[in-house]
Symmetry: none
DNA sequence: AATGAATGAGCGTTCATTCAT
DNA sequence: GATGAATGAACGCTCATTCAT
């Protein structure tokens, strides 16, 4: 899918980029704080450091702001995810390291991820598809790591499911924080998830016998 | 936490129950379709089969409708979860059966669970707490099943995390449907999750060695 | 002007009277507290001790309640004013006594008089006329007292103006209470007003000379 | 008491002033005609010559309009009252002249004064206090005139009461117009009030004897 | 005669968007 | 390119009034 474009009436592209970054920075805080629907365009403009009129020079609708925000979050997540893949060391250890880094990333970006989860459905259909694709891309990255790290007798489906599980477990650290972060630190959470992933729950029984 | 009450100006309590059920039924469809914020109170009234004035005889604010909807969903989920617990057979098989039933339930109530996920944050603070508690209750139910089904050398934390994993894996079948339901049926999804849960990913390697 | 009628669908006239008295009693308190417009018919019904449906058996519109209240206040005021006229003693002393009694009456009915002042304009035209006539009647009563108490060389106009002055001075004790009742008690207020009425402000100068 | 502020979201202060004047002009007519409660914000906007959206750029609530109207009336009254004080001629004649001017002013502003009398109670508490203070200020101005115009053997209380009487007599020319303006012209009303004020009603008796 | 559930016109207010300057 | 005053459709909610029971 080609990059979805948000048109602007301003010609100078570097200016567009600069203004939109201001905008995203201002908006993301507001969305985290009060959600997309309860944030007004005036507030976004103010938090971005320019007037409501200027805001509308760089976007067409309020939904564009949401899209820009979501896109920016995904881009940042994806960029960091790319660093955590280590293609030269296809061992279980490198998978574990990738999981650790990914969970750390999800911890760092808890608020952003939460916003995305709760607000994507406010995006217009095409933007939702675009965002969905981004997510698929990221899961695919995890799939790649898994495929390289585990013995080859895994089915495509199994790898996909493991990737999805890891992906969601990272996110749930953020969006179920009120439940999980009572019982775990990021470290104990990570350790235990890794252990469960590798060994399953049957292991002990077998070891016992 | 005591049951949160939504006051009504109508005295006949059975009527209140009846009308609220109409309301919930109408509202849930709308919320699924277009989200809470884009649904108007007039639409809710119409979908419920009465006038806007009548709607407001049974609630105080639009948020009350959301709360009623969320509460109703949780109640239905919880009621069905209670049936899937089998205290007489504390074996791994009974855990597996519970997971199957729970995933089936999440499949049946995909839309409702999705709505809840995306709209709880629109609830007022106290209602959010109430709903969060309900969720904790349900996770606790899963913890109970797990504790009874597995050998006793599990730590409290481990059990809690497994419960949370299962809980979220059930939900993700619904809210990641666009990704998962491309590759899996409910049955293959369940089978694979159960296998991963029980055996982990290391198993094969060990078996190989 | 004939007595304005408020129709009721109830036949039993003594019941109508009884219910309306309940209604007036309840409504007047509410009107004093929060004004006519901010009082709802439901509140009136509740304060009257019956249901909203019953309320509407005894009146046609909310304005009818206001009229009933105003009429009742005027009737009570008029009834008490009739007792303060002493036709047998046409002296200045009897005028002074009448003023004292009237000011006392206005003190007793401060709240009611205030309500009337602020809400008559919410009455329909014909009811306003009716109430205005009541007021004219009461001024006429004062005029009568004055005419009988003062030497005969007073013009009709002078008597009318004095009557109006006394009338308004009584009312202003209530509706300017936040200003007057800081500086005066009812007694000092009355004494001073009587003195000013009788002597004017020139007196002293003349006495000095 | 500091000047109560009504905030506006418009930055250009001269524009705020201009728009608010349009608003006050439009609203005062409507309030005179049908009262504050029966006037809708849309009517106010229309009468002011702008849209409902624009109206709300210059006020926060409908009550703000009422406050602006009341404040404007008081300001105009006060401004004119300041011109009628003649500090260089502390004689009875200057008091009489002040009364004449004040009654003339009350005649000119009958409708406005009537509105204020009937609607202040719809103002929020703090605005009521503010308006009450304005009234005290104006009474104080009359007190000043009286103190300077009469011999010095007047008590503070006596002066205050005379000031209040004059103040209310001016207002009653407007709010009792349906009664008074049948019998008097402004001139005959003024002459007679002045005569009563100066001489009292006893005078004649004494003169007779 | 009494009830109270139902109605819907109409209110005050908000806010995304536009466009003249 | 930037501004912010202006717009009005649309919202959540109220409440006087009706009428079946």
């Amino acid at each position: 899918m080609a990059k979805k474009q948000v048109p602007s009436s301003i010609k100078d592209e570097t200016l567009v980029l600069k203004r939109r970054n201001q905008m995203i920075k201002g908006a993301v805080t507001l969305f985290i704080e009060k959600g997309f629907h309860k944030t007004t365009t005036r507030e976004i403009a103010k938090a971005s450091g320019f007037s409501i009129g200027t805001l509308y020079e760089y976007i067409r609708t309020k939904e564009d702001v949401l899209f820009l925000v979501c896109d920016s979050i995904y881009q940042r997540v994806k960029a960091r995810m790319e660093t955590l893949i280590d293609p030269h060391e296809p061992t279980v250890e490198s998978l574990v390291r990738a999981i650790r880094s990914y969970f750390q990333l999800m911890d760092d970006m808890q608020d952003e991820v939460l916003v995305m989860y709760q607000e994507v459905k406010s995006l217009p259909r095409d933007a939702q598809d675009y965002v969905l694709q981004k997510e698929r891309d990221m899961v695919a990255m995890l799939e790649e790591v898994i495929k390289n790290s585990l013995p080859e007798n895994r089915s495509q489906d199994e790898i996909r499911l493991i990737a999805n599980n890891i992906f969601v477990q990272g996110q749930m650290w953020g969006f179920r924080r009120w439940i999980l972060q009572r019982s775990f630190t990021l470290e104990t959470y990570t350790d235990l998830q890794v252990k469960l992933l590798l060994e399953g729950v049957h292991q002990f029984e077998k070891e016992k016998s």
